[in-house]
Structures are given as C-alpha cells and as structure tokens.
C-alpha cells in the first residue's frame, strides 16, 4: 500500500517534469532534491529529469545537476544522454557556465566518458579564466579516482597548472598534486618560491593544503636547523644576505639556513594570525617540524588562542599541545593557567588539559599544580577525578621533591567517600611505593586497615600484592589479612583471587610457621575454582613452594622466583611517542596511521642541489597592462645576491602581494641638515583590485644605507612624503608600482606620473613641469663597487662597476657607471671592449676599447646605460681579443633617480599639478 502510494507520487512528479510549465518543473525538482536529502531513492525518475538538463532556468538546471551527479553512476547509459549538453557548455563564452559544465561533467562517474573528461580537463587547464582552471584542478582528482590509469596524463596537467600564478588555482592544484602524485617532489622545485610568495593571498583552505605539502617538501630539501651548534640568529641572516663577497667564507661555518628555507618560515608566519584554526594549526606544525628550536616560541600564543574556539577545535589543538609539551615544556609553561580545567569542560577536554598540566610540571610550579589538582580530585566527574589521581602519581614519580607530599595526599584520599577515587589512589600508591622501595610500612598498615571497606577489585588486588611484596615489613598484619581472605576467598573476583594465592605463597616462604595451614587451605580452594587461570596458578604455586618428590630443581629457587625484586612501573604520558606522526594530521589525532598518510622524511644529511629552485622569471601572462613591474634574471655568478633580488622582485611582481619593509637611517654625513630624515613606515598587503604601490628600498650599501621609504595609500600622503624627502635628502627608492584595475586609475595617475617623472630624471617636459628643476649634487656617493666579472670566469680579466650618481654626460636618460677593469693574469690582455650586440635592448654608451692591459694593471673607464627606467638588468658582452664574457648589471631603482633641490613653494606648486 505504502509502496503503491510512493509510486503514485513519483508518477505525479514525472508528470510535472514533463509538463511545459517551468514553475511546475522547478517544483518537482525541489521535491526530488528533498527526497535525495532524506536518503530516499528517486533513481526511477532519471529519464524524466535528464531531459531538463538543457533548461534555460538556472535554478532548475542546478537542481538537475545535483540529481545527475547523485544518480549518474547507477544509470550510466541514460547519463550519457546529457554529455553533449556539457560538451557544448564547455565552449560557452561565460566562464561560470564553462566552469560549472566541467564540474558536473567530471562529477559524473561513468567510465566511458574518461577520454572526454581528459580532453575537457586539458582544455580547461589552459583556459583564460582562473576560475575555470581551478575547476580543472578539481576535476583532475575526480578523474584520477575514476580511472587511475590516466595518472601520467594527469601529472602533465598538474605540472602545467602548478606553474599557474593565480592564487585561485594554487590551492586546488596542490590538492590535486597531493592526491595524484605526492611523490613527484621534482614538480615543486621550480614553483617553490612562487608558492611561498603567493601563500598569504591564497584562500584559507588552499593555504592549509599548501603548507602541509611544503612541510614535506622542506624536509627533503633542506638540512636540519637543529644541530647542536646551530646558533642562527637574525643578524647572522642579514650578514648572509648582504655580503656577497663573504659568502664563501660563511659557508664554511657550521650551519647556515638555506634562504629558501628562511623564505618559507618568513612567509608563513603572518598566517598564525589567521581566523581559520586549521591554517593556524598548519603553520604551527610547519614551525614545529622545520623551524630552529629557538624560533618555536612564536607559535605558542596562537595555539593557546585556539583554545577559545569550539569544543572540537580544542580537542585537536590540546592533543597537539600535549605532544609538544612533552618535548618542550618551556614553550607552554608561561601559559599554564590556560590549561586549568573548568567544571563545564567535556570529559575528553578535561583529561587532555590534565595531561598537559602534568607534562608541564616541574620543581618550580609543582606546588601550584598540585593545589589545582586538589580541586579536581573533588570533581563530580569521577572518571576525571580518577585521571587526576593518576596525574598526581606521575608528578610524584617525575619530581622527587614532592614524592612524599603526593604520597601523603594520596593516603588522605584513601578515606574518601567515593570508591573510584579510593581505588585509583590505591593503585597509584602501589605504583609509587614500588618506585620507592624505602620504608613505607606505615602506609601499608594503613591500607591494610582500610582493606575491609574497599570493594573495587583492582584496588583490593593492589593492596594484597603490596602485602605480599613487602610482607617482611609488616610481619604481623600480613598473616592476619591472609586469614581474612581465606574466609572470603570464594566470593572474590578473579583478579583478587590470584593475588590471594600470590600472597599465600609469599607468606608461606617467609613465614611458614604461621601460615602453612592457611596456605594449604587456600590452595585447596583454588584447585577447585571455576576459573581455569586460578586452577592453573594454584597448581603451579603448589608445585613450586611445597616440596615433594615429584617437584624438580625448581622449588629450590622458589624464594628467588617469587621474591625477586621487581622493576618499578614507569609512569609516562600516553602522548610519549605521538610525535612519530606529523602534528595536526588525522593520524596524530588517532595515534595510528590513517590511510593515505604521507610520512614526513628525516632531514637529509647533505642538502640537495638548491639551484633546482631557480627560476627564470617571466612576466605573468595575465598581467594588467598598466603595471610596471620588474623582473630580474638570475645569474649564476652573483648567485646569492641575485637570489635575494629575485625573491624580492617576485614579491613585488606577483600581482597578489606586495611586501615592503621600511627603515630609515640618519645619514651621518649631513650633519648640517636638521630633521632631514623622513620616514614613513608602513607596509601594505594589497590586492590587484586595489591600487598598489610599494616603494621599496634596498640596502645597497652595507655600511651606509640611505633613506628608505615606503609609502602606501592614500596618494595625497604618498606624494607629500615623497617630495619632502626628495627636497631634503638624497634618496634611494626602489619603486615597484603595479596597478591592476581600472577602478583606481584616476587616483593612481598622479602617483604614476610622479614616479615616472622622478625616474626620468626630471627632463621629460611632457608632464608639464613648470618649475625648473635643478639637479643637486649627491650628498653621498657610495664607495662600494659591485662585481661584474670575476677574474676566474674572466680568464684573468676582472671588472667592477659602481654607480657614480652623477648626471650622465652621454645622454639625459642614461645612468652613468664607472667600470674598473683589471688584469690579474700574467699576460697582457688586448682590445677590451663591449660587444656591439646588446642583448636586452638597452641603449648602452660603450667605453672606448682599451688597446692593451698589462698584467696586474687596472684601468677605470666610464660608460652610460639607459635602463629605460626599469630595473631590468642590462646584459652585454665584455670582449677581449680572444674571449667574450656575458655580464649583466642590475641596477637598484634608487640608482636610476636624480636628486633635485626644490623650494617648498615650488614643491607645493608641483604637487598641485600632480593631484590627478
């Protein structure tokens, strides 16, 4: 009957679906989705539903998709009818439709369409819309689970998508990577730095996945920062970045962190402030597994903050803290009070907090902790009270100063009303006495007195065991207890019976005069017990202790066997070896390996080749036209220097992020200018939606860094600062300017003008410069020169360059450079000149060819380079008679600027013009 009615209802649903009215169809679909949600079977409507797959109504279509994905697996043939619709939609001009078509197509688990899916994924992976590419990344996993044979092809797609610069794609593709080919670490190398730099702007779920993957990656690529003598502080790091000359010397030092390793740590740190608890936990575990030990403390606060969150979050976080606190007490000790238990906490939270408090206990804080424990012992939650008693036991064994206090406290608990508390105390006291085989006969006597009132079998057994073990300390009481036990033997629990037999045997050996008969009585009772364990034990004990003809050599050793000193039980944390699992993982929470768990490898003894992570930086494909970003080419020779350049450049050029750091230092050279140093400390993290500007200074000179400014929105302020500084001081500004949307173009224009105009050395009239600008002489010219060509690579010819910071005589747009060439070989070099073909298209004013350079001689020449107001490196060939050497000059933006002097009135006027 019921079945019949159900069928009827489905009939009318079918009718509604086949009607012409959209609203009826929609109503029917809504009811069907309701059925699916309840877990009812609606598969027989498949043909009727599938017809609507091409509906114009978006809601109807979406509901049909929901249905299709749910039942396609069961109705494979019919599902194929819908495929052509999706194939068509994949070509739709609207990216949302393309994406959703791919989503549904890849969710239909029908093996026949694997080739179609593969094709669609490959196509979508090159789609212009990052949203579609993200969908493609998701589809990879779906296809892989449907047909693992496609692995090789899918890896190719993953490789392609990993190169994607969009933050939308990053998380999803790494997820696909983790699922399909987590062992192909080689795919990550080239993308490592990009992922690190994008990380802050990836959506939160992607962040978690990427951080976990990078943790594994870093463990295989970098050497351990945990070595004994690895004192690695911030100063050290700076020295490393700044000193290209000393690099080789430094390498001989015990440990230097790979800059890429540092990059990862630095870029993940801000994420500790995320609102997403999973992200915070992911960063914490990254620091735990990768950071030098002394940097670990920064994660503490964040983890403690998570304890304010939901119960379930607390549970996972506390587990991780428990594991951490075993190894490093110091980390959490200052936050001990955050782990105090509240009566409203759930039981598993309470026990975890207790565990952590016990781990944190030391000589200094034990009295506070014990006082806290006293409150817990009285808790109404008896399981928790029992756990507290065990915790007290652990504290007592770990900290010898308080053993006696704890023992006394536990003895007091023996008179507690609650049975579980008493029982637990007995068990713990037993363990404590065992670890302290000194004279505790008082406590044993006390327990013997209590014995009659204790009913919990485990506790009774413990007391009996103690009696037997230390029967020599209580020679009078033990036999009496045995006498009582003989009376009640048959009513005891098995575990107690075993201990009675044990006690009897031990007493028989030490005090046979008083107990011989009792023992025999008990052994007889045991012989006919229902439990075979007890019968076995009785038989064994009888043979062992009562000598007769049959008993062999063993009985001679009975005393030594039974009364042998026993090793004390070790009371240790249940979280002792949880750290074999990566923190924050499911496996860690369960304390057993979950399927799909990826082992964290040990640090390699020798770091693998770090140059694998070098990338030729190219302009991102989808870069907005207005953006002015600079790219740096890495150069083998200036490895460490260009390395850092590139890193910074990437931060700027990846359109998602701009990081700026600022510092300002008073230039000691100009004492006559008061308050000449302006600094605007600010930093920004902005997105391509907004205008973005970062003025970034780099310390070009180690000894005398100039001013360094950073300015961020709004433009008015920015301009003021900039011009003020220009007025007063020689500056080095590193400008990375990127604008992405039309939205702010108006406000940006003024700024853009200003910057370009500065960079153009004030000689471009098209900006309506009404004020005549006069270039001032530089206040300070750095003496340091940069290496252009090393004598080893130059076969004896070495070249150094420095920026003179003077207006260039060769052309207004050129920057003047001083080049020092020296010959360190033992032969004279002839015809040194710059090759005619300049590789990067910069206009270079060459120096006159040097006819001959004697051995050990050096010559200084000047040249001009037009950098086109970019920090693009100028690459050219330095030639001698025999050889050609490719060299490159990498200017910092500051070197491209010209200092000017300007009165305040002029400045204001100028500012009005730039108002945009």
């Amino acid at each position: 009957m019921l079945n019949h009615r159900f069928l009827c209802r489905n009939e009318d649903l079918k009718e509604m679906l086949e009607s012409n009215k959209e609203s009826l169809k929609l109503e029917a679909m809504k009811r069907i989705v309701g059925l699916i949600a309840k877990g009812k079977n609606a598969s027989e409507l498949f043909p009727a539903v599938v017809k609507n797959v091409a509906s114009k109504n978006i809601e109807l279509k979406k509901l049909v998709y929901v249905y299709l994905v749910r039942y396609a697996e069961e109705q494979q043939d019919l599902a194929l009818l819908s495929i052509s619709t999706f194939q068509r939609a994949l070509k739709d001009p609207n990216q949302l439709i393309r994406a959703s078509a791919l989503r549904v197509l890849s969710s239909i688990r029908v093996p026949i369409i694997v080739p179609i899916m593969m094709l669609a994924i490959k196509e979508a992976a090159t789609d212009l819309s990052p949203y579609v590419r993200k969908t493609a990344a998701h589809a990879i996993q779906k296809l892989y689970s449907l047909d693992p044979d496609q692995k090789e092809h899918l890896i190719e797609v993953i490789e392609k998508l990993l190169k994607d610069k969009s933050t939308l794609v990053a998380g999803s593709v790494v997820m696909a990577f983790e699922e399909v080919c987590p062992d192909r670490i080689d795919l990550i190398h080239k993308n490592y730095r990009k992922l690190c730099n994008l990380l802050v702007d990836v959506e939160e779920w992607g962040q978690v996945v990427i951080i976990h993957m990078l943790t594994r990656y870093a463990r295989t690529q970098f050497v351990s920062p945990w070595r004994e003598d690895a004192m690695f502080d911030e100063n050290n790091e700076k020295a490393f970045y700044d000193s290209e000359e000393e690099r080789k010397v430094e390498q001989t030092k015990p440990y230097i962190m790979d800059p890429d390793h540092r990059l990862l740590l630095r870029n993940t740190k801000p994420l500790l402030q995320s609102r997403n608890t999973a992200v915070v936990m992911a960063v914490s575990q990254l620091y735990w597994h990768l950071a030098p030990k002394h940097e670990l403390s920064i994660i503490t606060k964040s983890l403690v903050r998570l304890l304010r969150s939901h119960r379930e979050v607390q549970y996972v976080v506390l587990q991780n803290i428990a594991t951490m606190s075993i190894q490093r007490k110091g980390m959490f000790e200052p936050f001990m009070k955050s782990f105090y238990v509240r009566s409203t906490d759930a039981t598993h939270i309470k026990t975890l907090k207790l565990e952590i408090l016990t781990n944190l206990a030391n000589e200094a804080n034990i009295s506070t902790i014990l006082r806290e424990f006293q409150t817990y012992v009285k808790s109404q939650d008896k399981a928790f009270a029992a756990a507290t008693i065990q915790a007290i036991g652990r504290c007592a064994t770990n900290i010898s100063e308080v053993t006696d206090t704890c023992l006394n406290g536990l003895v007091l608990l023996l008179s507690n009303r609650d049975e579980t508390v008493v029982a637990e105390s007995v068990v713990v006291i037993k363990k404590l006495l065992q670890t302290q085989p000194s004279q505790h006969s008082d406590i044993i006597k006390h327990m013997a007195k209590l014995f009659d009132n204790i009913t919990v079998p485990m506790a009774r057994a413990s007391i009996l065991w103690l009696m037997g073990e230390y029967c020599e300390h209580v020679p009078k009481i033990a036999p009496d207890v045995l006498r009582k036990m003989a009376k009640t033997f048959t009513n005891e629990e098995d575990i107690v019976k075993l201990q009675i037999v044990n006690l009897a045997a031990k007493l028989y050996l030490t005090n046979s005069k008083q107990t011989k008969l009792l023992t025999q009585y008990i052994l007889n009772l045991g012989k006919y017990d229902q439990n075979y364990d007890i019968r076995d034990r009785t038989r064994f004990i009888r043979q062992l202790i009562v000598p007769n003809e049959k008993s062999g050599a063993l009985s001679k050793y009975a005393r030594r066997i039974l009364m042998a000193p026993k090793p004390a039980p070790v009371l240790q944390s249940a979280f002792k070896d949880r750290d074999r699992f990566q923190l924050g993982t499911l496996s860690h929470t369960l304390n057993s390996q979950a399927s799909g768990y990826l082992e964290l490898s040990d640090w390699p003894a020798v770091a693998p080749d770090q140059s694998v992570r070098n990338v030729e930086v190219v302009e991102p494909a989808g870069a907005p036209a207005l953006r002015k970003s600079k790219t740096a080419k890495s150069n083998e020779k200036f490895y460490s220097d260009s390395e850092e350049e590139e890193e910074e450049e990437e931060e700027g050029s990846s359109s998602e992020e701009s990081v700026s750091e600022s510092e300002s230092e008073e230039n000691s050279d100009d004492s006559n200018k008061s308050s000449s140093s302006q600094s605007e400390k600010s930093s920004s993290e902005s997105d391509s939606e907004k205008k973005k500007k970062t003025l970034k200074n780099k310390k070009l000179q180690q000894q005398k860094p100039d001013i360094l400014i950073i300015t961020y929105l709004p433009p008015q302020i920015m301009q003021k600062t900039l011009l003020l500084i220009i007025m007063t001081k020689y500056i080095l500004i590193h400008i990375v300017l990127s604008i992405s949307t039309q939205f702010f173009v108006n406000c940006m224009c003024s700024l853009l003008h200003l910057c370009v105009f500065l960079a153009c050395q004030f000689d471009v009239v098209s900006w309506h410069v009404h004020v005549s600008l006069q270039a001032s002489s530089p206040v300070f010219v750095p003496e340091t020169s940069h290496e252009l060509l090393h004598r080893m690579t130059g076969k004896g010819l070495s070249a150094q360059y420095r920026f003179t910071r003077q207006p260039c005589i060769y052309g207004n747009s050129m920057v003047s450079l001083q080049l020092t060439l020296s010959n360190s070989s033992d032969q004279a070099l002839e015809n040194i000149h710059i090759s005619e073909k300049s590789s990067t298209g910069q206009n270079i004013h060459r120096f006159n060819a040097i006819e001959r350079l004697e051995p050990q001689a050096s010559v200084t020449v000047s040249m001009g380079v037009d950098f086109n107001d970019s920090t693009q490196a100028a690459n050219f060939q330095l030639c001698t008679k025999e050889d050609e050497f490719s060299v490159s000059i990498q200017p910092a933006v500051g070197e491209l600027l010209l200092p000017i002097t300007m009165s305040e009135a002029d400045f204001t006027k100028e500012q009005e013009h730039r108002a945009g």
């Binding site: 949600a37 309840k38 978690v208 606060k301 304010r308 759930a346 997105d687």
Partner: protein, 418 residues
C-alpha cells in the same frame, strides 16, 4: 577530502545526507551512534571516530550533530573548521541553525552544500560569494517567487570569486553610508572559594557592520594598541601594516563580519567586576542542604552591571530547591540539575541574595564537592581592558560615512569555585 555529510539530531534521527563523491551508505553512522551512546552527554562524543573503512569527524552545534565521512588522511581541524563554517552559513541564511529551519529550506541547504564543496574540497565559503550565488530566503522573496516563478539562484557569476578580495562584492551601493564597530570583551576567570583570582584573562573581538558604497579602504587605529597581545584577523586585514604601525587597515566585506579577535597581554591586571559571597552546604543527615548566594559589585569602573545571571550545575542527588530571591527569578530544572538565577541589573545599594534549602535524594551520600557557579553579566559602554578606538579613516571613496563605536564587556567563562 570530505566524502559525505550527515546531519543527525539529538534524538538520533538522521534527517539530511549529502554526498560529494560516490554514495556512502548511511549505515556508517552506526559507529557514530555507538559512540554517542557511550558518551552519555552529547558534549562528550569524541570529535574523531574511527571505523574500519572510514573516519567520522563530527561537530555538535545547536543540538545537531554534523557528521562528516572521511576516507583518507586530512588535517582534522580542516574538516572541523569547515563544518563550523557550514553551520554558520545556515545561521546566516536562516537566522538560526536548527533542525526545523534546515528541513524547511532543504533545497537551499542542498544548493549551498553543493556550492561550498567540490569533490570534497571547499570551493566557496565566503558568505558574500554564496549570497550572490544563492539568495537567502526572505518572506517577501518567497512570496514573489511563488507568484512569478522566479528563482533564488543568482544569474550572474559571483564577481568576488574571481577577484583577489573574495570577501567583497563589486558595485555595492548604499544611500546611507555607515560603519559600526562593536568592541566586545569577555572576561574569562576562575575564582576560588575565598574570592581570590586563580586565573583571569580578557579576550576581545571587534564585530563590524559596514555598509559603505564602492570600494572603501578603512584604517582603524587605537589609542593604546600596546594592550593587545595576540591578535587574529579577518583575511581582509593587512597584517604587515599591523606589524609596523599597529593600525588595522582593510577593505571591508559588505555587511556584518568579525574584524578581529584579540587577547590582552597577561601583564595587565584583570578587573573583576563582581564578587560572589556564597555558602552552599549539604548536611550529613536529613538529606537536605542550604544555599546562600550574594552578588555584589567589585571593580565596575562606575558602570552598571546588567544581565547578571548565576548558573549552578547541581550534584545529581539534588532533587529540588526551595529558595527565596530578593531580586530576579530563579529556576531549578530537576532533569538537567541546573539552577539558573536571573538577577538582571545589579543595584549596589541593595545587593541581590538567593537563600533557601535544597532537598536531596534520601539515602544517597552527601555530595563530595560543592557545585561551582557560572556567572554571566554585561556592562555597556565599557571595555574592561581600557582599549579605546582612536579613529577611523576612510580612503578611496569621496562620501562621508557615518561612523560609530560601541563598547561592551561580558563575562566569558567566568567560574566561581565553591
């Protein structure tokens, strides 16, 4: 990652299921029911349960268990955080997250779940994006929908999803541009029998309601940012600027959101606004007990304490309470054993007192421990830590917004041991 989701109510009825990969039979929930039974209290159910082939990660919220099925290794917090996000989205959409609202809006719930995860990996969780995709139900709209047959599914691509600021949709327009900030601080404290503070700390959040047109860029600064010890931000906040200048700079999401949460550094002494004098005793004979509680103001910075509520979780043996309150009302629930005394406003001249006798189950031993008291209170116009917002500046838009800041202090986990 997340295979399936089952929603189960307190009575153990499975009322909604959703699968993102192949269908997993609902019998997998039997393992959950087993654990649920063992735990007695719903709070004590372990969040992670292992079954032979799957792992069940569950959260308990608003009397509903969200049970997700996992097949392979995944960070458990990832799933837990996501489930909470789902519950919050329901709350956001339907006003409350309860069994009946979910059942009533099952189609929207299904559409939401479909958008939030793709193949088990979170796709769109920002409420702004979701609201563009699927419009939340309102009475008016559902009426219009029934008449015109129009849908509540968005026709356009959510612009936020494509931008790098996914939390804000483009083209926001208001006639009244306003930005309100609520500084809400909570005192977490444990006081012992004698009234001394065992542990106290202040946690705060800044909730914002921003209704500004266009793409405003806001900067919020404090008079005393040094007070803040540990902070966590909404993704819109520029962390770098906080690091260097201690100002909060952000492009806000549209509507309500939590801007930041913070923790006041431990060096600052925490002012405890009320004191509690209590005397709860159970007699050895006669199966009865006495209760006497008085609450008075301590450090209230001259403000009135409102919304004062004292909650006592009584021992199991307490059958009933016969009390007399000088102010407010009390209620004892003999099933849950919870005594709630709702005081209301605290009058310093006439201190509220609750006094009377408790009757216990006869024959049962007297309770070992006295129950602890949980205090709830509210102080308007005061941030107990002394935190003050200095100013709010807006850049990027021309109009003048209306700005407002409100301070509230509440009791968080405020417990008095007896």
């Amino acid at each position: 990652m997340i295979h399936s989701l089952f929603l189960i109510n307190n009575a153990g009825d499975l009322f909604l299921e959703k699968h993102w990969k192949s269908v997993i039979s609902r019998s997998v929930c039997d393992y959950f029911f087993e654990a649920r039974e063992k735990a007695v209290e719903p709070d004590n159910v372990p969040p992670v349960i292992r079954t032979p082939h799957h792992y069940l990660i569950n959260i308990y919220r608003e009397k509903i268990f969200f049970v997700s099925v996992i097949q392979t290794e995944v960070p458990p917090l990832f799933v837990i955080e996501f489930l909470h996000r789902v519950a919050e989205t329901f709350q956001d959409y339907f006003g409350e997250c309860s069994e009946s609202t979910i059942k009533d809006n099952v189609v929207i719930v299904y559409e939401l779940l479909e958008e939030m995860l793709d193949n088990g990996f979170p796709l769109a969780t920002e409420s702004n994006i979701l609201k563009e995709l699927i419009r939340p139900p309102t009475i008016l709209r559902s009426m219009v929908n029934t008449i015109t047959g129009s849908s509540n599914v968005g026709e356009t691509l959510p612009t936020g999803q494509l931008s790098t600021i996914p939390w804000r949709r483009a083209g926001v327009k208001y006639t009244n541009n306003e930005a309100y900030f609520d500084v809400v601080e909570e005192i977490d404290a444990i006081l012992d029998k004698s009234g001394t503070t065992v542990f106290a700390e202040i946690q705060g959040v800044i909730d914002a309601c921003v209704k500004l047109s266009g793409m405003p860029d806001l900067t919020l600064s404090f008079m005393n940012p040094r007070l803040l010890d540990d902070v966590s931000f909404h993704p819109c906040v520029r962390y770098k600027r906080w690091e260097s200048e201690r100002v909060i700079s952000f492009v806000p999401p549209d509507g309500n959101f939590q801007l930041m949460s913070y923790h006041i550094s431990a060096q600052n002494l925490v002012a405890i606004p009320v004191y509690v004098k209590q005397n709860i005793s159970f007699f050895e004979t006669g199966s009865s007990g006495r209760l006497d509680i008085t609450v008075g103001p301590k450090q209230t910075m001259g403000k009135t304490v409102e919304g004062l509520v004292v909650t006592v979780h009584m021992p199991k043996v307490v059958l009933s309470a016969n009390l007399n309150a000088t102010q407010g009302t009390y209620n004892y629930d003999p099933v849950t054993k919870i005594l709630v005394w709702d005081i209301g406003k605290l009058n310093p001249q006439k201190l509220p007192n609750l006094k009377g006798s408790l009757s216990l189950q006869s024959g049962a031993p007297k309770p070992e421990e006295n129950p602890s008291l949980n205090i709830d209170l509210k102080i308007q116009q005061l941030a107990i830590s002394g935190l003050k917002v200095n100013r709010l500046d807006m850049y990027g838009e021309k109009y003048k917004p209306f700005k407002g800041v409100k301070y509230v202090t509440k009791a968080g986990k405020f417990q008095v041991r007896t």
